[in-house]
Symmetry: C2
Subunit: 392 residues, 2 copies
């Protein structure tokens, strides 16, 4: 599939296998903006952020323009100290020398194993060929950024604003460690909608709170997670970003779902909806605790309508409510009402709902009017298998 707009906008890409991963699997991608893009990003809050995050943060402060984006999988370049940053400098200078571009306009992003030095020579050796092949835009770059993902994740959208057509193309990698405040997730979003650097970050952050920050696979938070937004549109200050924000939210939600559905060992994606909480913070606390409870997640895997675990997780969340005001529903079927097993409880009906790939669990705390939802997944044998020997 070829996106004409992105090709016409002077965006090129290429990918290859440089040997970071075994068996010749693609592990390196390059994206080129022939006219520098304005960009912003949201980064992991992990104190042990990897070198690529430290580097990109500093780039963003100095220079919000990007000409190249180099992404590798197979090695996170995290817990690599000063050397990790030196390795990035080496690579950006390398691309700079070969292309004539200012290294301050070159972003490097990495995902993979933590704590191993980046094999920078393998990457440097592949750069000339990557540069040569990136005159056209090829979305197979989305394959080169995968780690335990089983599918590449792409979302595209076109939308109208002020009578003109605009576009968004985005790719992501996800799988394990998906949790609010990012976790092992890399997202790259490109649009031809004109954005001003000053307003981009607030806009991206707002969209994140309604998309990527609502998903949880295993409650962990990684060292490298980043969501990048690039605009190659010509600056037209008179355009409101309302239509763009809606389109961006749709793209971000679609990628979030793709990440969840391809989570490690995931069979089911469940919407945990907490309503009538005393405050949004309480609703978030309850949704988060339920979404991350191993006991809830194993019950979802086992298709076991064990609502008592949901009730117990809500009680452990710190949210304020009267236990005798709590009701719990699987889709529209009541399991618990007023803190006890519902008189309308229908195990057959609820079991049937739980056999679906997607369903909702609604927890009504009966304490106020605030609500919040999060998406969680089941916790399965496969998750254990994948993560017991990730490095081997």
């Amino acid at each position: 599939m070829r996106d004409e707009w992105i090709y016409k906008s002077g965006v090129g890409s290429s990918s290859c296998s440089c040997g970071l991963k075994k068996d010749g699997v693609p592990d390196l991608a390059l994206i080129h903006f022939s006219k520098p893009a304005v960009w912003t990003a949201c980064f992991t809050k992990n104190r042990c952020a990897g070198a690529p995050v430290i580097h990109a943060k500093s780039l963003l402060k100095r220079n919000g323009r990007a000409s190249f984006l180099l992404i590798n999988s197979g090695n996170a370049n995290a817990a690599t100290g000063r050397k990790g940053l030196d390795d990035i400098d080496f690579l950006t200078k390398n691309i700079g020398n070969l292309s004539g571009v200012d290294p301050n306009e070159i972003i490097v992003s990495s995902t993979g194993v933590i704590g191993e030095p980046l094999p920078k020579e393998l990457i440097a050796d592949a750069i000339p060929e990557l540069l040569q092949n990136c005159s056209d835009f090829d979305e197979s770059v989305a394959r080169a950024i995968m780690t335990t993902d089983t599918k590449s994740k792409i979302s595209r959208m076109s939308f109208e604003s002020c009578g003109r057509n605009f576009h968004i193309w985005a790719m992501a990698k996800g799988a394990g460690m998906i949790h609010p405040h990012l976790a092992t997730m890399l997202v790259f979003i490109i649009t031809d909608f004109p954005l001003r650097q000053s307003g981009m970050h607030g806009l991206l952050k707002e969209v994140m709170d309604y998309s990527f920050n609502k998903i949880s696979v295993d409650g962990d938070m990684s060292t490298n997670d980043s969501v990048f937004l690039f605009s190659i549109g010509e600056s037209r200050s008179e355009i409101s970003d309302f239509d763009f924000k809606n389109a961006l939210l749709r793209v971000a939600k679609e990628l979030s779902q793709q990440i969840l559905e391809d989570g490690e060992g995931v069979h089911k994606v469940v919407n945990i909806f907490v309503k009538n909480a005393l405050s949004v913070d309480d609703a978030k606390a309850a949704a988060g605790r339920i979404a991350n409870s191993e006991l809830v997640k194993t019950a979802i895997y086992g298709e076991d309508p064990n609502w008592g675990r949901i009730y117990a997780a809500a009680g452990a969340s710190g949210a304020q409510f009267d236990p005798l005001s709590v009701s719990i529903f699987f889709d529209d079927k009541p399991a618990c009402e007023n803190g006890v097993k519902s008189k309308r409880y229908d195990e057959t009906a609820i079991s049937k709902i739980m056999k679906n790939d997607h369903f909702s669990i609604t927890i009504d705390l009966g304490a106020g009017t605030a609500s919040y939802n999060m998406f969680t997944t089941d916790l399965s044998y496969e998750y254990i298998k994948i993560n017991a020997s990730y490095r081997s």
Copy 2:
């Protein structure tokens, strides 16, 4: 095995299968203090505390004396609303009528499925026989309180204080949902050391912080968890409780280890030791985050020296430290020093350590002088299997 001291002190016990669990498995236990014991307890902080916790808390406020302790497994009597409390009243009155004891001296404790009404008639029908058989003390009561436990858990200790011999006998049930602030854990401790009601709670709480509050199996927190302490010693105000506290701590630590080792699907117990943190709160936060990380726990299960996950979990904990000051050791073998892979890294040696049932992971944050440790376990296929279909 028969504890002469407990028998001589007028403590009796009996157990039976009343039908709460399938296949005639023991599920009901009664302990009788012929001379009322003074008691205290620490309870779950779960807002949705089960009826037995609500009832026992109110008993403790009214009357710190106990003549009977009735414990059932197979049903937690949690999420049962007003009816749950009425059922407990029904049972304590029943025992009171048959024995002539004040119902305010009768404690009921329950563990098992949440959200099903307590089959109180099954229990009531078994009470006459339990009462009849509890003239002697029989520690098989520890079997009747098990849920997914594979072994009964008992600890006994004798110690000297002021030239006299004293004793502690204690039993526990644990398995899943073991986490600081209790989780699915019931502990009952009986001593002939004289304790005054006024000082008991502080003493128990202090010991808890160094034992049961340091263990984590799956990071969940249950509705029913309680640790009870009963003293049947004759009040002797001149005795300091120093020797008792030490003995109690040994008992509590021993039961904690038994609970961990018998955790659901557990093969390994690992001591997570965080040192040189800026504050004890930071050390606790880092230890807790590492101990509860699914990625760390699956790596432990897979015997994979993936120290980067430990490093990432420390970074996600909110503790303050310089990532370039962090060192990580498996027992005495360095994996990470100054935030990068150790130059002395020896994968063969670390893999060998990880094959053990017990080992330590030390995280030196290099930020201050505070330390804290917690015990965690691996996360295995069996955990998923047990919890995917707990109710069936």
